[in-house]
């Protein structure tokens, strides 16, 4: 009875992946954001089916868990592309051409912010400040920050992801 795949609940179905994560956090309701982060990291998104499971484990209402999952920009119910590129849209990056960088990226990838490329390789998103404000414009490639980005480096990064 070890490992996520073999953990059984009373109905005999495979247990929801959220259960083990809740347990790891001691089923503490104050750890809800941590739980959602871990779940999303593991599954690539927050499966909606996990929300009632989390609610039960943490002794919260479904509405409370749903409310939290939808309040924060980070959490998403649908899977994203293999890679996520976030472009900083905040003021320091604006002063160094972030608007132009965004327009270039949208044209190059043929998507708007918030969309995924046709080959499902890259989701393009906005972010607001990566703390690299003296090396603008900056982007986040998956979990890796990249600064002083221009069209050339952006295209090289995209090529490196594919």
């Amino acid at each position: 009875m070890s490992g996520k795949a073999t953990l059984l609940d009373f109905t005999g179905k495979t247990a929801d992946p959220a259960l083990a994560i809740c347990q790891k956090h001691g089923n503490r309701s104050d750890a809800l954001l941590e739980i959602l982060h871990d779940l999303q990291h593991e599954q690539g998104h927050v499966p909606e089916a996990s929300l009632p499971v989390i609610a039960k484990a943490l002794n919260l209402s479904r509405a409370e868990v749903y409310g939290v999952a939808t309040f924060y920009h980070d959490f998403h119910f649908k899977p994203k592309a293999a890679h996520v590129i976030k472009i900083c849209r905040a003021e320091a990056c604006q002063s160094m051409g972030a608007r132009e960088l965004q327009a270039m990226a949208e044209k190059f990838l043929k998507v708007k912010l918030g969309e995924t490329t046709a080959d499902r390789q890259i989701t393009l998103e906005a972010t607001y400040c990566l703390g690299l404000c003296a090396s603008s414009p900056a982007i986040m490639v998956d979990e890796r920050p990249v600064a002083r980005v221009d069209a050339k480096t952006f295209k090289a990064i995209v090529a490196g992801l594919k």
Binding site: D30, E91, A92, A134, S135
Partner: protein
């Protein structure tokens, strides 16, 4: 003896290739059978030079930057590892005016140490403040912090000692210390640098706050946009516990303090302290009405010290060197130093810690070297997205909470974002409204709805549709947001909007005064 080469591990260095440079240097050294020790230090905060490689020599450290992977072979050929000249050399690092002219009390160790070496930390004055605090009663620690004149570095400038006293005096079975490391303001990165570069300093400051207030449990709330800071803080907590500086029976005393890192989830409003508390409780980041103040009813309803990273980080120095030493820096009621952050379109962007009273012009021109583009400085946004746009005409203003307030601006968290003559100030004003619409917690109508209306009105003004009526409408709307918002998100968004309109009316389609004169 092996040579010591320092390459920062700060995100602002790795984001421009520091890891690749470190790898290339290690490989080349191995190929040449040179014995080198590569230390991934913290950043000096001179970001235009990153990746900034330093080499230890008998005269002191010699720096090279910005170094790219493809420079490495040539650097070895020039014998940079012995501190020899090369076109990327900046000479002796400590002699650089950018560093020499600063007053680094909080950032004293920046660039010197390995962030996760607690021995390094202690060798450079670390944990002297805690040692002192452990000999004092809580009330005596509070007095020391009060006497230093330290005011909250998160933006509002509230006296830190007063806050700590309230928590100290409160009677409760449990108290908390929470660090606000949400650093959402564009143009700021000092909190990030502390967490990535000198994490034990933050832990020490929070531990002193716990001793002062009687708290036994603490949280560091770090925004998810800072993965490296999160990882470093988590590691540092484990190391500090193992070394007996944190956790049960600190340094063999009967005092205990446990510390946990919690991640934010991409909501700017969670930097507002009560929204942060809600978030720490696992809830939506909705702002709470005050009173009750968090110092009395904070996390889980218990008395809670909440401070910004830089507020906590200033405390070890204050305890170690004495309140008077800290208070001697500064001007008026702004005591001590502020780590200013030069950002945006600036030639030499980075961290400049100076006593309050330094002028905006000294920071932007003398340290910063003007714009990166070489064009004229036109505007600066100071104090984050809720801060005013200040025109170049005000470069003479001293950095001081009261002077800024008197001029309709704010120092905030000390971030200065520079814009050159290309900037469209109407677009900046519109963005301030857009940002408010995106990040509003939704509790107050003026903030939630007013921000979207604000964007529309600005669009109509710049399109010259019923100009006068819409200008009046914008002013009314801003007044409503100022008066009718529970927190500074809705309450201060009018600041960047109205300051842009006031100082740069020509960008909003107003006839330029110059053109008027020509017509006369």
């Amino acid at each position: 003896m092996s040579m010591k080469i320092f390459i920062p591990r700060d995100s602002a260095a790795t984001a421009v290739g520091a890891d690749e440079v470190a790898r290339a240097i290690a490989q080349e050294a191995a190929a040449q059978k040179l014995s080198v020790q590569i230390i991934r230090n913290s950043s000096r905060g001179m970001f235009w030079l990153e990746p900034f490689v330093e080499v230890e020599t008998p005269q002191g450290r010699v720096g090279y930057g910005p170094v790219s992977e493809k420079d490495v072979k040539a650097l070895f050929k020039a014998r940079f590892h012995e501190g020899k000249p090369h076109k990327l050399s900046v000479g002796l690092v400590e002699e650089l005016p950018y560093l020499k002219n600063q007053e680094r009390l909080t950032f004293a160790r920046a660039g010197l140490t390995d962030p996760l070496s607690i021995d390094d930390y202690r060798a450079h004055g670390g944990y002297e403040g805690l040692a002192k605090a452990l000999t004092l009663a809580g009330s005596a620690i509070v007095t020391e912090v009060t006497d230093s004149g330290l005011r909250g570095r998160g933006g509002a400038g509230f006296p830190t000692g007063l806050k700590w006293k309230t928590v100290h005096d409160a009677r409760a079975d449990q108290k908390y210390v929470c660090c606000n490391a949400d650093e959402g303001d564009s143009g700021t990165f000092a909190d990030r640098m502390v967490m990535e570069g000198d994490p034990f300093m933050l832990i020490e400051g929070m531990t002193i706050a716990a001793l002062a207030s009687g708290a036994t449990k603490g949280f560091v709330y770090i925004r998810s946009e800072y993965p490296a800071a999160i990882a470093t803080m988590k590691q540092a907590i484990i190391i500090a516990e193992a070394a007996g500086f944190l956790g049960q029976n600190i340094q063999g005393t009967d005092r205990s303090f446990r510390l946990e890192v919690r991640r934010g989830a991409g909501a700017y409003i969670c930097g507002e302290e009560t929204a942060m508390l809600e978030s720490l409780e696992g809830k939506r980041g909705m702002v709470r009405a005050k009173p009750p103040i968090p110092a009395l009813q904070g996390l889980f309803g218990k008395p809670t010290v909440i401070n910004n990273v830089l507020s906590f980080a200033a405390v070890p120095f204050i305890l170690a060197k004495g309140a008077a030493t800290y208070k001697n820096y500064g001007m008026g009621r702004s005591h001590g130093t502020l780590p200013f952050q030069l950002a945006g379109n600036i030639k030499r962007g980075g961290l400049v810690e100076k006593a309050f009273g330094v002028t905006l012009g000294e920071l932007v021109n003398d340290f910063g070297g003007g714009t990166a583009s070489g064009k004229k400085v036109r505007a600066m946004q100071i104090g984050g997205p809720l801060g005013a746009y200040v025109p170049a005409a005000q470069l003479g203003m001293p950095m001081d909470y009261e002077t800024f307030a008197a001029n309709g601006a704010m120092v905030g968290h000390g971030g200065i974002v520079v814009f050159d003559s290309n900037v469209d100030m109407a677009a900046q004003a519109r963005f301030a409204m857009e940002f408010c619409a995106i990040e509003s917690c939704g509790k107050c109508t003026p903030c939630r709805i007013g921000s979207t209306r604000g964007m529309e009105v600005i669009d109509r003004i710049t399109a010259n549709e019923e100009r006068e009526a819409n200008l009046t409408l914008l002013e009314d709307l801003c007044q409503t947001m100022t008066d009718g918002s529970l927190c500074a998100m809705g309450g201060l968004t009018p600041m960047p909007v109205m300051s842009a309109l006031k100082h740069f009316p020509e960008d909003f389609g107003a006839k330029k005064p110059r053109m008027k004169m020509a017509a006369e």
